[in-house]
């Protein structure tokens, strides 16, 4: 499958101290598609995802070699402004972590950081993104209450709205539905399908069925290596590597 890449990873190695978490990863992530990263626990999925928006930088003893290009720009170049790179991507983590402030302020946090002060503009941004994340109706009457009072499912949708409010090009999700009940998971998945016409989405997931439902492109990792990658169709119906076959067949997990 040939496609326009949004993120290009070249010979990426990541070490935590002496332990190597990513081994010479080279892969392209397609533009405006849903890419799923699958693989057993500890294989480096989260590490790969975090390497895309340089969230590995604050980790102690971390060492990174190789290159990651986003929109043709080498994000590990020393001259790059990290905050600008991060702003290009919205992040959803395994469990939602609303910031310790009101629902409104959570969504307005990003835009405010980037200099938007106008009350009316902020109101519009907050409303629009809460609507896109399909949580507006549930919170519109209590925008000024602490975000921590929402249910976990609502919090995750709020976090989606918060991420979208900085107008990213890419959405990174690290098992974003794993803490949610089936109904909430489904709502988030539905969002992703709608959002992929405008955003590049990269999703780490443990759930093979979720990957099958959502993914256009799949990366299968094992012990820090990228074993196989290709269109979802290829990987799920006709994997080339024995290991991928076994994983998808459920022989090991």
């Amino acid at each position: 499958m040939s496609f326009k890449p949004h993120i290009r990873v070249e010979n990426l190695n990541v070490y935590y101290g002496k332990e190597q978490a990513l081994k010479n990863i080279t892969v392209n992530i397609p533009d405006r598609k849903i890419t799923a990263i699958i693989g057993p626990s500890g294989c480096g999925k989260s590490t790969l995802l975090k390497s895309f928006n340089r969230l590995l930088d604050p980790v102690d003893h971390v060492r990174i070699s190789g290159r990651v290009f986003v929109d043709q720009e080498d994000i590990y170049d020393s001259k790059v402004d990290v905050t600008r790179i991060r702003k290009k991507m919205g992040l959803l983590s395994q469990r939602p972590y609303p910031l310790p402030m009101s629902i409104y302020d959570n969504v307005a946090y990003g835009p405010r950081l980037h200099g938007i002060r106008n009350k009316k503009t902020l109101n519009e941004i907050v409303e629009r993104n809460l609507k896109i994340s399909s949580i507006w109706n549930e919170v519109k009457d209590r925008l000024n209450t602490p975000a921590s009072r929402l249910s976990i499912g609502q919090q995750q949708r709020l976090c989606l709205a918060r991420g979208l409010a900085v107008e990213p090009e890419i959405i990174l999700g690290d098992e974003p539905t794993s803490a949610l009940d089936p109904k909430s998971s489904q709502r988030i998945e539905q969002r992703f399908i709608e959002l992929k016409s405008e955003y590049t989405i990269v999703l780490v997931t443990h759930i093979l069925r979720q990957a099958k439902r959502l993914a256009d492109y799949v990366l299968f990792m094992y012990l820090g290596e990228l074993v196989e990658h290709g269109s979802a169709e290829e990987i799920f119906s006709n994997p080339k590597q024995e290991m991928t076959k076994e994983y998808i067949g459920g022989t090991f997990s």
Binding site: P58, T83, R86, S93, Y97, L99, Y109, L113, V166
Partner: protein
């Protein structure tokens, strides 16, 4: 044989339970004892008269504690004002910026400061802080000071409460989940923006508890303060004036002036206040910390 072991077990358990209960009862007995012994002065003077009169003439039967209370508050306040910003930045640096190696080295080192006897701090105050205030600082402001002052006591106390404030704040900051920082960074915030708007906001109750804990430690500290505060029973006008804090009054005079009628009772009343105030502060900060811990889990 077996039954003997069982008896030993039962005795040991009961004994330990008894010791635990009695050590916490000590506080209760202390408060009761102090109250009973301070009743004589309360039957002569009203509480508000004792608290708000500044006339301290035990020989004439006048026991106005105001100068001592004000002195204690000034010194404690000065110490807290000096200590809080320094401790906060230290804790923020150690928690948010320092590599784990540095944190592992300095956090215990700072805790070590807590183990230094307060008389050593007092001597350091006498040898370093008092002359510095007398010879360098006071002349800059064009005033005379012997150096024995609120400021000297405040500086010495500030350093004494560093460990507790830094230790507790550091723990509170470290309890803020890493993912919350990541969430903020991922939106394009800088580290400092993240610390300021997310980490500190989340840690605020715990940091307040740390400060209250430091405050109560400073409030009751006796030895070091007694050595450098000057101990003059007058309401101070500035931080370069001497002051006579309550704990120093008690330590200096109890056992010496007891021939003066009611003196003994007055000092025990002062001790009672001190004890109650410090207990209250401690309980408050512990309650806040317990709540902080719960909200993290």
């Amino acid at each position: 044989m077996r039954s003997f072991r069982k008896i030993k077990e039962a005795v040991a358990t009961r004994l330990m339970a008894f010791l635990t209960v009695s050590s916490s009862l000590i506080v209760f007995f202390m408060i009761t004892g102090l109250y009973v012994r301070s009743r004589p002065i309360l039957s002569v003077h009203s509480l508000s008269e004792l608290l708000f009169s500044s006339s301290w003439h035990p020989l004439r039967g006048e026991f106005g504690f105001l100068p001592f209370i004000v002195g204690t508050l000034w010194i404690t306040g000065t110490a807290v004002v000096i200590a809080v910003p320094l401790c906060l930045f230290t804790a923020i640096y150690l928690s948010e910026y320092a590599p784990s190696r540095i944190r592992a080295l300095f956090a215990p080192l700072i805790d070590l400061l807590a183990g230094i006897p307060s008389v050593i701090y007092g001597i350091w105050g006498l040898l370093a802080v008092v002359p510095m205030i007398k010879n360098q600082l006071a002349p800059v402001f064009g005033v005379f000071s012997t150096g024995y002052s609120i400021l000297a006591a405040g500086i010495v106390l500030a350093i004494m409460i560093f460990p507790v404030i830094i230790h507790v704040s550091l723990e509170v900051l470290q309890s803020v989940p890493g993912e919350m920082r990541e969430a903020s960074l991922a939106l394009g915030a800088t580290s400092w923006q993240t610390v300021k708007t997310v980490v500190l906001r989340r840690a605020r109750p715990g940091i307040i508890a740390a400060v209250v804990l430091g405050f109560s430690r400073a409030f009751g500290e006796t030895m070091a303060v007694l050595m450098v505060a000057g101990n003059v029973a007058r309401i101070p006008g500035s931080v370069l004036d001497p002051a006579y804090p309550l704990p120093a009054l008690i330590a200096n005079n109890y056992g010496e002036m007891l021939s003066v009628p009611l003196y003994d009772s007055a000092l025990l009343l002062a001790s009672l206040w001190l004890l109650v105030v410090i207990l209250l502060f401690n309980v408050c900060s512990r309650l806040i910390l317990v709540r902080v811990e719960r909200s993290v889990l």
